[in-house]
């Protein structure tokens, strides 16, 4: 049975932890009906509908969006957050790691955006926020594939922004600098500290830094803001 909702619907990929979880909590508190998509189950106290989907599997993503369309009939916001990182010199990086990063970080984001756009255009409103990384600017050794996928996402977002603006849909990138996640902590400590110290705005960013930008992009003030990459940490 179709359960069309009057509440605004926000989809967050990679919702089980880190930035995705923080964004989902914030959107939920902002009265969005949050649908979290991830391979792992988010914490029980998150007020969100969870759909299990493997972001490396296109069919799995399409099925998730079909379900969302049937249940809620609308998508207002998509936060493409899911990502995996294996920081390693390319010569000793496994093919599995390379494929995993490309499929999750790039293909998964592209398929999710495509499916979201199809639903958003019906209401002539949509906000797609693609999460990127400071790695695309800092270009650290070991992040060749990760940064390549995120750079590709930035380009993808910029071009699709042109395609969908007349449909009331915007597409932007929020590039996060040093955020205290499991992914970030998996990196070498000395290397991480060196990166943080070298940032124009030294230190970790908090979830409020992320959600302040997110709120602006989602608000009516963000109606004409599209095709942009907004970088935290003073990185340019």
């Amino acid at each position: 049975m179709t359960n069309i909702t009057d509440r605004r619907v926000a989809i967050v990929t990679g919702v089980s932890r880190g930035v995705g979880l923080g964004i989902a909590r914030h959107l939920s508190q902002s009265n969005f009906l949050v649908v979290g998509i991830s391979r792992s189950t988010p914490p029980n106290d998150l007020d969100a509908v969870h759909i299990y989907a493997d972001l490396t599997d296109s069919d799995s993503i399409v099925s998730a969006f079909d379900e969302i369309k049937k249940q809620y009939g609308r998508v207002d916001v998509l936060v493409n957050n899911a990502a995996v990182l294996d920081s390693q010199y390319l010569m000793i990086m496994s093919t599995k790691s390379i494929e995993s990063m490309i499929c999750t970080n790039l293909t998964g984001a592209v398929i999710a955006a495509r499916e979201a756009m199809k639903i958003m255009r019906k209401n002539k409103y949509g906000r797609i926020i693609n999460i990127s990384s400071m790695a695309t600017v800092l270009k650290p050794k070991g992040d060749s594939v990760y940064a390549a996928t995120k750079s590709a996402v930035e380009m993808f977002s910029s071009i699709t922004a042109k395609e969908v603006f007349t449909m009331g849909i915007t597409s932007n990138v929020l590039s996060i600098s040093a955020y205290d996640t499991e992914m970030f902590r998996s990196l070498n400590y000395e290397r991480v500290q060196k990166i943080i110290d070298g940032l124009p705005v030294p230190g970790l960013v908090g979830i409020n830094d992320v959600t302040n930008i997110l709120d602006y992009l989602i608000s009516s003030a963000g109606d004409s803001i599209t095709g942009q990459v907004i970088r935290l940490g003073g990185i340019s």
């Binding site: 199809k118 255009r121 395609e163 007349t166």
Partner: protein
């Protein structure tokens, strides 16, 4: 079934052209109207919207899940998007089998 598909396709084309032109001009289309290329009655973005709407209508009205944007449709020769007739034939083939 083909007549129903034709009606559905034409309805979506008219709706999208009308939306594109703010409802001011009633589009004149025929089954042989080209959908892209020389003499096309619509631009590329409108064709994209029509494809998505037709997929959506087939699902909601006939409970048929049809993908018109997969590799088979895109690379097939002649293209299913050559005219309204070829598009309707292609959809009927997907639903009923060749």
């Amino acid at each position: 079934m083909s007549e129903q598909i034709l009606a559905l396709v034409v309805e979506n084309i008219q709706k999208n052209i009308s939306d594109e032109q703010n409802g001011e001009i009633s589009p004149i289309i025929s089954p042989d109207s080209p959908l892209f290329g020389e003499g096309a009655v619509i631009d590329s973005l409108t064709l994209v919207n029509i494809i998505v709407d037709v997929e959506d209508s087939l699902l909601t009205k006939f409970n048929k899940s049809v993908c018109l944007s997969n590799d088979e449709a895109v690379f097939r020769e002649p293209s299913p998007f050559t005219s309204i007739t070829t598009l309707v034939d292609y959809i009927a083939e997907l639903i009923d089998g060749p």
